[in-house]
């Protein structure tokens, strides 16, 4: 699985972008932020908690995307 950003909750504050250890987060053309599921590792192996979740000021904005299989560290 990967994390995803719930668009209607995102305020475009960009707090998450620099914290992501995988550069998986980028700004979309609408000024909001998106996570590239191919790059997201759920911060496993990097930090105790996913950084986007820890820094996002709005609850339930960075959530698990069930469309992807659980990430496994290589």
């Amino acid at each position: 699985m990967a994390y995803m950003i719930v668009e209607e909750n995102c305020t475009g504050c960009c707090a998450c972008e620099p914290e992501c250890p995988n550069q998986a987060i980028s700004e979309a053309s609408n000024g909001l932020f998106v996570i590239d599921p191919a790059k997201c590792t759920e911060c496993i192996g990097h930090y105790d908690e996913p950084q986007c979740v820890a820094v996002c000021p709005i609850d339930l904005t960075c959530i698990i995307d069930d469309n992807y299989p659980r990430y496994e560290a290589a």
């Binding site: 305020t11 504050c13 960009c14 707090a15 620099p18 000024g31 908690e49 820890a54």
Partner: protein, 522 residues
């Protein structure tokens, strides 16, 4: 910069030390043609917000800074650019989800700018408004939570507009990591928002912080925050960087505690303390707005500011501006400078023209000070315990020059035999009304200045005049176009004479209401 640091401490501590006052004031007087007014054991030019108590080299740094000098804000303008909206802490008086009057956020009201756009905007504004002397990065969010964008912006502006003073406002959590870099960019003004030094109090204000790749909550979070804030302040002081402290007064949570905060920050070298009222309305969607946490009344705020004033200089003219505010304080021109308009503007940054304009402003400013000094002489020898507040309608320039009906705010002065001292301002016309609506404009004005004995205006109609009198507020239009403090002292002298002659009886006025929300563009 070691000397500056020492003088900062001496300037604050010296306020109550009679030995130093004369020396300090003499230097200030020589510098800007201003004498001492005495009164309440505190030397000043009578304006009271305290900038004139500062040692000359500090005064030189802040004298043209509208946010630091209560008198300068009549004459100089500032602007904020929103380049770094990320934040690393959560405050119960802030809600990043909904837009509200006290901040502009990306994607909702105004655009977040890239550092390049911000630099262009600064040049465009400085070319249009020659009295614009200060650029601040103050949010939304914490500028030091996104240091690359913040410092890139400073770098670009320092290159293209070297005469503009740079300042930054921070919650302090990341401050110790960036003090060195701040000093490299020659940013000599930093504002730190410090609402507590007791983590138990802090836990009621901050639900969480993000620090060292972890989210901390409760007392643990508040402990880290206060430690980092005070450490950052000490580091700034060591490097001779001026620090102003902002505190939000939250009744029942930190109101009395702010006296302790004041002592703590003063002892660590902060040169100015700005205690602001909590802005909290349910529609802002903040935790405090939703729990019904009220803001302070006008008298509660003034009493706390007065209580701290013996300790250090207090700032009283803060408008709690938006993060993209442009222009003179209380006169937001941000709508003229949207990104679209800036990109089209032809920018001709003329340093000499700006300098010439600012020299003219300086002359006008000295005239204001001279007029007040002259009038103050007429109060010499008068003894009375009477203190009273007056409200003044002004468009700026230190004059009574606004029509009663056009005033969007009133400036409040406290009159005593020491002179006229600026103690605050009251908004009466907010675009984000917070529950007042269109109803009863005059009633709104009266509630906002109900603690004042008189209101000075350039002009006023017959109807409001009578209603003001009924409310016990004397409408005064005889000083139209004249200097505020000079007029106020003349009025007070006559008032004292009438009281002495038994013509009027001095009564103590009631409390007034602080209207919530910051001024936003029309």
């Amino acid at each position: 910069m070691q000397t500056v640091q020492n003088h900062t401490a001496a300037g604050s501590a010296g306020v109550n030390a009679a030995v130093n006052i004369e020396d300090i004031m003499q230097q200030v007087a020589e510098h800007k043609g201003c004498g001492t007014s005495g009164g309440s054991g505190k030397a000043s030019c009578g304006s009271g917000a305290g900038e004139n108590d500062l040692p000359p080299e500090i005064w030189e740094k802040v004298k043209n800074h509208p946010c630091y000098s209560e008198e300068a804000h009549h004459h100089y303008a500032r602007m904020h650019v929103a380049v770094a909206p990320a934040c690393n802490i959560q405050c119960n008086y802030c809600n990043r989800k909904y837009d509200c009057a006290n901040e502009s956020r990306p994607g909702v009201v105004s655009e977040k700018l890239t550092p390049e756009q911000a630099a262009k905007k600064v040049l465009a504004v400085a070319s249009t408004i020659p009295q614009m002397t200060v650029l601040g990065i103050a949010g939304p969010g914490d500028p030091l939570a996104n240091p690359e964008k913040t410092f890139k912006t400073f770098e670009l502006i320092a290159k293209t507009a070297p005469d503009i003073k740079l300042c930054v406002s921070t919650n302090g959590l990341a401050l110790p990591d960036h003090v060195e870099r701040l000093s490299q960019y020659n940013i000599d003004h930093v504002t730190i928002t410090i609402n507590m030094i007791d983590p138990e109090v802090g836990a009621k204000i901050y639900p969480w912080i993000y620090y060292n790749k972890k989210r901390y909550t409760g007392v643990e979070a508040a402990k880290i925050l206060t430690d980092r804030q005070l450490q950052g302040l000490e580091m700034l002081t060591e490097r001779g960087i001026l620090s102003k402290i902002n505190s939000v007064m939250i009744p029942g949570i930190n109101d009395q505690h702010l006296v302790e905060v004041n002592k703590a920050v003063k002892s660590r070298g902060a040169f100015l303390h700005n205690i602001m009222p909590l802005i909290s309305a349910p529609e802002h969607g903040t935790v405090f707005g939703l729990t019904g946490q009220r803001g302070p009344t006008a008298q509660e705020l003034k009493a706390l500011q007065d209580q701290c004033e013996g300790e250090m200089n207090m700032m009283r003219h803060c408008r709690q501006c938006r993060a993209d505010a442009v222009g003179l304080l209380g006169e937001d021109r941000s709508a003229e400078f949207t990104t679209d308009k800036i990109m089209e503007m032809e920018v001709n940054y003329d340093l000499d023209a700006r300098k010439a304009y600012q020299e003219a402003v300086e002359k006008e400013r000295q005239a204001v000070v001279a007029a007040k000094q002259e009038e103050l002489q007429t109060l010499a020898g008068a003894h009375s315990d009477i203190k009273m507040l007056i409200a003044v309608a002004t468009k700026g320039g230190g004059k009574v020059n606004e029509h009663f009906g056009h005033a969007t705010e009133f400036q409040i002065y406290e009159l005593s035999t020491s002179g006229a001292k600026f103690v605050g301002h009251r908004r009466v016309d907010l675009y984000c009304q917070g529950g007042y609506g269109e109803e009863d404009t005059l009633g709104t004005v009266i509630r906002a200045i109900n603690d004042c004995h008189a209101v000075f205006v350039a002009k006023i109609g017959g109807c409001p005049k009578n209603d003001l009198k009924t409310a016990g507020i004397d409408p005064v239009d005889q000083y139209a176009g004249q200097f505020i403090e000079q007029s106020a002292i003349a009025y007070f002298r006559e008032y004292l004479e009438k009281v002495a002659a038994g013509e009027i009886e001095h009564v103590v006025k009631g409390d007034a209401e602080i209207r919530q929300g910051a001024l936003i563009a029309a």
